[in-house]
């Protein structure tokens, strides 16, 4: 045991380096590999062509999520190319012996929702997936990050990754969360301050009183968007909140108390040194709304859309000018004066039961504005079932929301759920890139409560002023 104080990242890293061949990058062991239909077919095909097997099928879990329809599951999939990709995942899982949570399974859902929900995600683990939002799982104190398809194939074949050790970045948020401000607002605010590339080459560890006070699902929202600040992974030290969340879940360790005893040793030691530290105050955060075409182009709901000329950096200025043109916005427009056509509540950022409860509590007793089409897409079959048991589906339906089946849906619009050109959407997802939700579509990222209030009002409103019924 090294005697120098170590960070959470140091400890997980040290625990997983199998071997560093001379002159090569280390082989880092992967505890859990999550697989979905879009980034895996070429990897399985590569295995087949080389005559290789999946090294640890029991550590590999698959589900279709990205392009699945969110309409009636009893109907056949209309898009033949989507259907082929989902059929291919099914065939590959069968051939290689990988556990698949298929479309008719209550455990199907967005891969980053079902991992924690089933207890597949655990503290101290290394977890990878061919998806950049794999950082979500870091909320439970795991080192989790997205990889490309060639790396998916490498993990399938070797259960390891070739990986240099990333740098550590402590992002500390001091103080308590102001009323009406959520985990989504914190992370959007942090991305705005850190920039879209502030975390490149780093793993973020979120610390501080504000982060510690968050529930498990809120922590997932924060870690989920680490990649939007450029960090491949975000993590939060495991504590009683984590252990309480995991206890009793399907894939949680059988000897849970022994596992907890080991997990309690994971948090960064006092005096551990990070490569970089950034400190923020929760009191400075107000509900956030993005105005541009990357998640760092964000401001408070009480502010105005900035002018491109207000940016000193020439890259930022030209990006802002392009973004405002694409978004059809003028500098100086009050955020609360931006009208909306669509509202999307869902995605691996904000589709868990607490997100749906937060949105439903805003909507209860109201109707969706006549100018708005709104939809709720639960993150998993279990979230949907739980919401229905709590009557949340009725709250949404009675208000005029569509209530859908689980999947990634309009976060990236690979399935039929897309924006039309120039449609403007308040979305609880993670990316406002050009065309992300549909070619020409205009995305504003917000929290579930802010999205729900916008659906009712037809434009953004400050959730801190909301009259709950």
């Amino acid at each position: 045991m090294p005697s120098t104080p170590r960070t959470l990242l140091d400890k997980i890293w040290d625990n997983h380096v199998v071997f560093t061949p001379p002159g090569e990058l280390p082989l880092v062991y992967v505890d859990r590999h999550l697989v979905h239909e879009v980034t895996s077919p070429q990897a399985f095909e590569g295995l087949r062509l080389a005559g290789r097997r999946v090294r640890r099928p029991e550590a590999t879990f698959a589900t279709p999520d990205h392009n699945v329809p969110t309409s009636d599951r009893r109907l056949p999939i209309a898009d033949p190319v989507s259907k082929q990709q989902i059929d291919t995942l099914r065939a590959n899982c069968q051939e290689f012996g990988v556990r698949l949570f298929d479309l008719d399974d209550v455990d199907q859902g967005i891969v980053h929702v079902i991992g924690p929900e089933l207890g597949i995600t655990q503290p101290g683990m290394t977890i990878v997936c061919g998806d950049s939002h794999t950082a979500t799982h870091g909320a439970l104190g795991a080192l989790a990050f997205g990889i490309g398809t060639s790396e998916v194939e490498h993990v399938l074949a070797t259960q390891t990754l070739r990986q240099g050790k990333p740098k550590s970045l402590e992002v500390r948020v001091d103080g308590t969360l102001p009323p009406g401000v959520t985990a989504k607002d914190i992370v959007l605010y942090l991305i705005g301050k850190l920039s879209t590339e502030g975390g490149v080459g780093h793993v973020i560890e979120y610390t501080g009183e504000c982060i510690r006070s968050l529930g498990m699902e809120q922590r997932m929202t924060v870690c989920n968007m680490s990649i939007e600040a450029g960090a491949r992974a975000g993590m939060i030290a495991p504590d009683a909140v984590t252990f309480d969340y995991l206890r009793g879940r399907d894939y949680a360790p059988k000897d849970f108390d022994a596992a907890v005893a080991a997990w309690e040793k994971l948090p960064s030691d006092p005096g551990a040194v990070y490569d970089r530290v950034e400190i923020f105050r929760a009191a400075d955060v107000v509900p956030q709304v993005t105005w541009g075409t990357n998640p760092a182009q964000v401001t408070g709901v009480d502010a105005v859309v900035p002018d491109a000329v207000s940016f000193a950096d020439p890259n930022d200025r030209s990006s802002a000018a392009r973004a405002l043109e694409y978004m059809g916005l003028e500098g100086g427009t009050r955020i609360v004066d931006i009208p909306l056509d669509r509202v999307f509540i869902g995605s691996c950022t904000n589709s868990r039961i607490e997100d749906l409860r937060a949105a439903a509590s805003v909507v209860r007793g109201y109707r969706v504005a006549s100018t708005v089409r709104a939809m709720v897409v639960p993150g998993s079959g279990r979230v949907k079932r739980q919401a229905e048991q709590e009557g949340l589906d009725r709250v949404f339906r009675e208000a005029g929301f569509d209530w859908r089946e689980a999947g990634c849906s309009m976060c990236l619009g690979m399935n039929p759920d897309t924006l039309a050109p120039r449609e403007r959407c308040a979305s609880t997802s993670n990316r406002n890139f050009e065309g992300r939700q549909g070619k020409g579509g205009r995305t504003h990222l917000v929290s579930p409560a802010m999205a729900a209030a916008a659906a009712v009002s037809g434009h953004f409103v400050d959730i801190r002023d909301w009259q709950y019924k």
Binding site: V18, H154, A157, G201, K254, N294, R322, R431, E434
Partner: protein, 205 residues
């Protein structure tokens, strides 16, 4: 994997920061189950007008970029989604190298798996390359660079030469066209011993 030693080619300047992988290859083309054929969809929403014709305002459709094999861009190139379809599309279109001040981590790694070199240069050097490319275009010509992975240099024939840093292992794999998985499986005994030592994390359920 295709190896890379040296490459000389025409530079396509793409004067934009934060080019995300959703722009490089839009989601509607991710449903294919092959690794090949993505070049026709590269930068699709920027490259083509709604009627399917080439957008004359997009940089890659303009004469200075005709036949280009080296892409020059601004900060944080390849951010966003981990989709390896982005480097597949760039490589299939004919790019062998991308030069930018910074890259997103996942995209950067993905390039090496596809015989393509991501080259980080200082912002001032990237500015200089944009100036030289713009000057060549203004004179009705094209701008070319030579990438030498053996020497880790980028140079033109008018006095510009810069070194770039690349991880020695990634460099060696590219130079020799190694299959990463083959290399790792040479250490399968080490992985097996490591797993046995740990007793494997218990898998239940």
């Amino acid at each position: 994997m295709q190896s890379f030693t040296t490459h000389s080619g025409i530079v396509a300047p793409l004067d934009r920061a934060n080019v995300d992988t959703d722009q490089i290859i839009p989601k509607q083309f991710l449903k294919r189950i092959e690794r090949t054929g993505f070049g026709q969809y590269l930068f699709f929403d920027w490259r083509f007008l709604p009627d399917g014709s080439a957008n004359p305002e997009f940089e890659l459709n303009q004469p200075p970029a005709a036949g280009a094999s080296i892409l020059l861009a601004r900060r944080n190139f390849g951010c966003g989604s981990s989709r390896e379809h982005a480097p597949w599309a760039l490589a299939d279109y004919g790019f062998r190298a991308v030069i930018a001040p910074t890259f997103a981590d996942i995209f950067f790694n993905n390039c090496f798996q596809n015989g393509m070199v991501p080259i980080r240069l200082d912002e001032a050097d990237v500015d200089e390359l944009f100036r030289r490319a713009t000057a060549a275009a203004a004179a009705g010509g094209q701008y070319s660079l030579r990438v030498d992975l053996q020497a880790c240099t980028v140079s033109d024939d008018a006095g510009f030469t810069r070194s770039f840093a690349v991880d020695p292992f990634r460099r060696q794999c590219l130079l020799e066209g190694h299959d990463d998985i083959d290399l790792s499986l040479r250490h399968a005994d080490k992985i097996t011993a490591w797993e046995a030592d740990r007793g494997l994390p218990a898998l239940s359920g």
